[in-house]
Subunit: 321 residues, 2 copies
């Protein structure tokens, strides 16, 4: 059994060792090293290694596969930042700000390719076809999630169901695939690998709902992002979609008026959220997913070996609300 701090240390030290053989095209790789060094919680590669560990493998055998997931995740952040025109990521200037948009596009492309190289590097040949298929399917689903996220920006009739499908694709499937790949590498049978995937999907959905909640109700001191950012951007979160769905005529009119203003009044929108109590709705949905996830986890039959994963999942939801 290996514990999270050690896993994170392994990931961190091996990210530093990722190397590029090209001397001529250094300009392609500099932004990648920059992005990969910015840190973050490294949750996805940790999940892969913790899952492999729980299923009885030596996680140190699958460090490259964990790095593949982290490389892929950072590729999506890099291209998303271009699409969103985001100036800052993890407190530092984004790649397109620092090196220009073309660099951000092209270095992102190279990251996606590198994630496949890391995935295949050292993988047992008999595992490769299935793991590769899951990785690619997941990668394409993440693109679909980003597509829906962009489309929803200009849509005014996003349903709760569509929203949940979007966050499943954009966020949950990669967490789930990280766990399942760890299980597959450790030789888990299909049922158990499926259960840990379901755990990941449900925790991923809960995690995103938590993010929606924190945006409005988070403690500014610990949240890290600007409180009310989603509201200011008129983002169709679980809260806004349900506020509209449950609003009476007058509340709907007030919401319309508030969101039509150039600078959205976060406090006034939050007041309407509170009147309708979308916070409780979101919390209960989040808790529903969390317990579904823990149910799925218990179906792996691994008992104490999944304790760490359970704690990590609960820990993710326990950020102060």
């Amino acid at each position: 059994m290996i514990f999270l701090p050690e896993i994170q240390e392994i990931i961190k030290s091996n990210i530093k060792k990722i190397s590029w053989s090209s001397t001529l095209a250094k300009g392609l790789y500099e932004p990648i090293d920059y992005v990969m060094s910015l840190g973050g919680k490294r949750i996805r590669p940790s999940l892969l290694l913790m899952s492999a560990d729980a299923f009885g493998a030596n996680p140190k055998d699958f460090v490259n596969q964990a790095l593949a997931i982290e490389m892929f995740h950072n590729f999506t952040l890099l291209h998303d930042d271009v699409m969103d025109n985001a100036p800052v990521r993890r407190g530092k200037p984004t790649v397109h700000v620092k090196w220009g948009e073309n660099s951000a596009i092209l270095s992102g492309d190279a990251m996606l390719v590198k994630s496949y190289e890391l995935l295949a590097d050292g993988m047992p040949a008999d595992k490769l076809p299935q793991v590769l298929a899951l990785f690619s399917r997941t990668a394409r689903e993440v693109c679909e999630g980003q597509q829906l996220d962009m489309e929803f920006e200009s849509s005014n009739d996003v349903t709760e169901q569509e929203y949940l499908e979007m966050i499943r694709l954009k966020t949950a499937v990669l967490l789930a695939a990280s766990l399942k790949i760890g299980a597959m590498l450790a030789g888990a049978d299909d049922d158990k690998a499926g259960s840990i995937y379901d755990f990941g999907i449900n925790v991923g959905l809960a995690f995103q709902l938590m993010d929606d909640l924190l945006d409005v109700y988070g403690d500014p001191a610990t949240f890290g992002k600007q409180v009310g950012g989603d509201i200011k951007e008129r983002k169709k979160t679980f809260l806004l979609i349900n506020a509209y769905a449950k609003a009476d005529a007058s509340q709907r009119q007030r919401l319309d008026a508030l969101l039509a203003e150039d600078d959205v009044d976060v406090k006034a929108v939050t007041d309407i959220y509170n009147e309708i109590d979308v916070k409780s709705m979101c919390e209960s949905k989040m808790n529903e997913y969390l317990s579904k996830g823990l149910d799925a986890l218990s179906k792996t039959g691994l008992g104490e070996r999944t304790k760490q994963l359970e704690e990590l999942a609960c820990g993710l939801m326990n950020r102060k609300v």
Copy 2:
């Protein structure tokens, strides 16, 4: 033995059959279907299937792998067009013009993922690790080539050697990998697969030099692009690099002055090219690569079975100069 027209027909009809399972994220796939339907000569997938055929396999067994190469190639065109801000591709509006830049980035990402899915689809498991490694290495080299191409735009001391390395990466390696993957799939030994790769590299380099020549000396009626386009863009082609390298002080001064003007005088630059006779230099370099390529091809020992590949290579160079 299967002939090029039939191969191209197989590719064309199978491109039409590429399908996407998502109903919600149709917006992600529409630009991909558009790009893939625009046509083109489908040289790369044809090379893969012709190579598999020459090495004794049934090319129809490897259609997905050929489509993977075509999907990848079109992904590079799509992202290159964003980076170059190109309005037109194959006579039609580019994706970023039609759907916006974000769509072009994201649909391109999905194409890269899909190319991996096609590559793995139906591939014999014992071939997968090696083919996958070659595909990824090549994909990353193409990114390196594009990186160098962009960097050379703002550099004034690109050498002939650096230029040749750039076009090797940007153009030749994918042609070579297409051929080699066909050989690997057909079970060719490493030496022969290496020879067909070398054939591809050399023909690819010759092909790009031909393109440089045609830009200046091509017949406007058959060239398809605007004659002198590279000169207008001050592109560091083989011709321009060598014109500078061989120019005397006065010619260099005239070149500098001509390229400093807002609208570059194509005729005047061509006159200097003619004085220095860079055309002959380029032709002899091109012929050198072509014959190196044909040498490598003969080393496969396949005799008549490579006749078609030889004809295709020579055909590519035989466009009217």
